[in-house]
Amino acid sequence: MIRFASITKTFSGVTALAGVSLTAATGTVHGVLGENGAGKSTLMRIAFGLERADHGAIEIGSSENRTSSGPRSPRDAARLGLGMVHQHFTLVPTATVTEACVLGASHGLGLVDHAAWQARIRATAAMLQWQIDPDARISSLGVGQQQRVEIIKALLSVGSVQGTASPFSARGVLILDEPTAVLTPQEVDELLPAVRRLAAAGTTVLFISHKLHEVERVCDAVTILRRGAVVHSGPVAGLSTQRMAELMVGTTVNLPSPARQPVTGAPALVITKLSERANAPAPRLTDVSFTVHQNEIVAIAGVDGNGQTALVRCVLGLDRADAVVTPGIPADQRLAGVERIGLIPDDRQHEALVMELSIERNLVLKDHHRPPFARYGWLDFAAWRAHAVDLVQRFSIRGAGPAATVASLSGGNQQKVVIARELHRQPKLIVAINPTRGLDVAASAEVLERLVSARDHGAAVLLVHHDLDELLSVADRVLVLFGGRMTDSGWPACDRAHIGRLMLGVA
């Protein structure tokens, strides 16, 4: 079991946690619900020894392990029997599964007995009814598989595994930080029973999430955090998802409701029999055909790594492929085409923004070379400033003004800068990849709102998104990419389960 007693933590004057208390009993799954910024991650980082609490105590396992302010380091946490699976995996891509487990789950420096470790990994996997190849390279594994490696690693790290004995222990605590964020419905369906199996064997599981129905399915009890304080703690039974959502957000948030329209627009993007070149890495895009019309949001669902990246790159003309037809953009002007597409890339910090530069400069990035921002290659900064002031206001970008660096903005406002730059010109075609990644509920809703509104104003939107719920809430049509091939979900006559099966190629 694990007990947090009045944990308080402030970061440079800002209170992140205000007297949070929480008890998870042995052998239960305890949900921790909250929006981004509610303090879930900070609480878990304190539990895992990555941060120190200002006040409060953490008790793990049994009374003799009691520590005044939690473990001093991740190593300390492991010694106390606490393992953690981070939301962002910390697996070295070039390492093998065994090496990843050795790195995370042991602390010696000496010779590594590969055979023994492989046996332990296989044994742990077997108990969770998983298949894992200990010699596989991390980079060759899918996201779901990588998460399994993370869980096995965390279990092995708490030191409860001796030889091939049971990896579960009465005193072991496993923290799962948003474990379903990157999984398909089917993978979620496989993960949740495994979590139950862990609990049944005596492990205490802290299940961090903001997905209500998952908490409902897997957790025995739930603690809901809002702005660093506990607003509810108690058994899940008898708590409706609607009530949970209200507790979590404070007010009711309405996701944009799919206001389906008959497709009336002209085709804005026509892809006909797109195939990557023969030497492209797997999964190679094969015979992908689809059309995105104006006034339409076409969503592409799929498990990460099934060709989404390649598809987007081909559409943008960054990679060469056969038979891309984009009306209005000649195939040979590939890079010129990028400028005309409204692009919201996956990783805004690396692919869309220059963090060291000001908001103003980021806002003008795609137009910097044409009037009124530049004449004959000579820049006109007055026009830049006016442009920035206008967009900051129109897209309500909250920060220290147009001259502040983008790095000083919050994630949501950074995404607003991207959206402002990409959408203010009312492009005919918008390509958005995971546009709400890392944003809280309110910010996500605002981003999706913007896409819908652009659609309503006549834009064709191609949306590649990992969050199936959000995707379904805005899409006019859903296509599924699996293994480089595209399948039409037959929208709207389909359901989540059907799309999930298509995503796994089992339909």
Partner: protein, 317 residues
């Protein structure tokens, strides 16, 4: 006699020429696998040269000279680590600063030594050929082939072979290797596993510095028993090229160093041939570098290298 055959001589010379490159390269390879690019290897080698020479000349104790060479290089390496790891400054620039300081300091020390009349090693000091002068081995020097290629090499050449083997083993079979891989590929993973990225990176930098210092000592108190300002002649930069050429793998590094040493050894034999003067001698001198460049271009696209190479950690955004 078989040992006088050209091929045996060339191979023996290749091994000797490759020794300082392999020694410094082994350290730099580990550092780069750990994500730290130190272009100050040249300066560290030069520091090793002067420190080993000064201590050996003054005390007459070659072992002390070797140790101090490694220690002095580690002191400068610590300065580099302070800049590049702790202060998270740019690694390339820190390496350049290191080179400038090392050249200046070695020149100043050399001037100081000369003003006190210390310009020669004592006759008995300095390592000679053979396994650190263990007389028992010298009787094997005349064995066919393995005599010149094994027993008559320098002690540090043999030690370097051992070091390479040990490094290979450590990187491949122990958790140290796994952690070094992690701090070079994805430092966050190492941090999440409870390892101190900074402490490990300090470790690999100091190891690389010690190796470079020993390589410098090889040049001054073992191979030549002399010090001349800037006697490293750009070998430190060659080491950097060879580590990249070797795709950060010990086996490829060995191949690269031997290839470079072989090219150097062959150009010396070629220069001695009658008729070689038809070409300017600079053609021969640039041969090893041209061979290295051509070999690189001829190889298939080289590996990208450790993902976090040259990047300070934690990355501040």
């Amino acid at each position: 006699m078989i040992n006088d055959l050209l091929i045996v001589v060339v191979i023996a010379q290749t091994l000797t020429a490759a020794t300082p490159l392999l020694l410094a390269g082994c350290g730099e390879l580990v550092a780069e696998r750990g994500g730290v690019l130190n272009i100050g290897i040249e300066g560290l080698m030069l520091t090793g040269c002067i420190a080993a020479f000064a201590v050996t000349a003054i005390t007459g104790n070659s072992w002390l000279g070797l140790l101090v060479a490694m220690g002095a290089a580690m002191v400068l390496g610590a300065g580099f680590a302070l800049m590049a790891i702790t202060a998270r400054a740019d690694q390339i620039v820190a390496g350049m600063a290191l080179n400038l300081v090392a050249v200046g300091v070695s020149g100043t020390v050399w001037r100081a030594l000369q003003s006190h009349g210390v310009t020669e090693l004592p006759a008995s000091a300095g390592f000679s050929r053979g396994w650190f002068g263990w007389s028992g081995w010298s009787s094997f020097n005349d064995l066919p082939v393995i005599g010149p290629l094994f027993f008559d090499l320098y002690g540090l050449s043999i030690a370097t072979a051992g070091l390479l083997l040990l490094t290979w083993w450590v990187l491949r079979r122990t958790r140290i290797g796994i952690v070094i891989q992690a701090i070079g590929e994805l430092p966050d993973a190492a941090a999440a596993a409870g390892e101190s990225v900074h402490r490990w990176r300090w470790g690999v930098v100091l190891f690389a510095a010690a190796c470079a210092g020993a390589a410098g000592a090889f040049l001054s108190i073992m191979r030549t028993h002399a010090f001349v300002p800037e006697m490293t002649g750009g070998k430190g930069f060659v080491v950097l090229a060879l580590v990249m050429f070797g795709r950060w793998r010990i086996s490829w590094l060995i191949a690269g160093c031997l290839l470079f040493g072989l090219a150097d050894s062959v150009q010396q034999q070629l220069q001695s041939l009658p008729g070689s003067r038809a070409l300017p001698y600079q053609f021969f001198q640039m041969l090893p570098y041209v061979v290295a460049l051509v070999a690189l271009a001829g190889l298939s696209r080289s590996a990208p290298g450790p993902a976090a190479l040259g990047k300070p950690w934690p990355v501040s955004r």
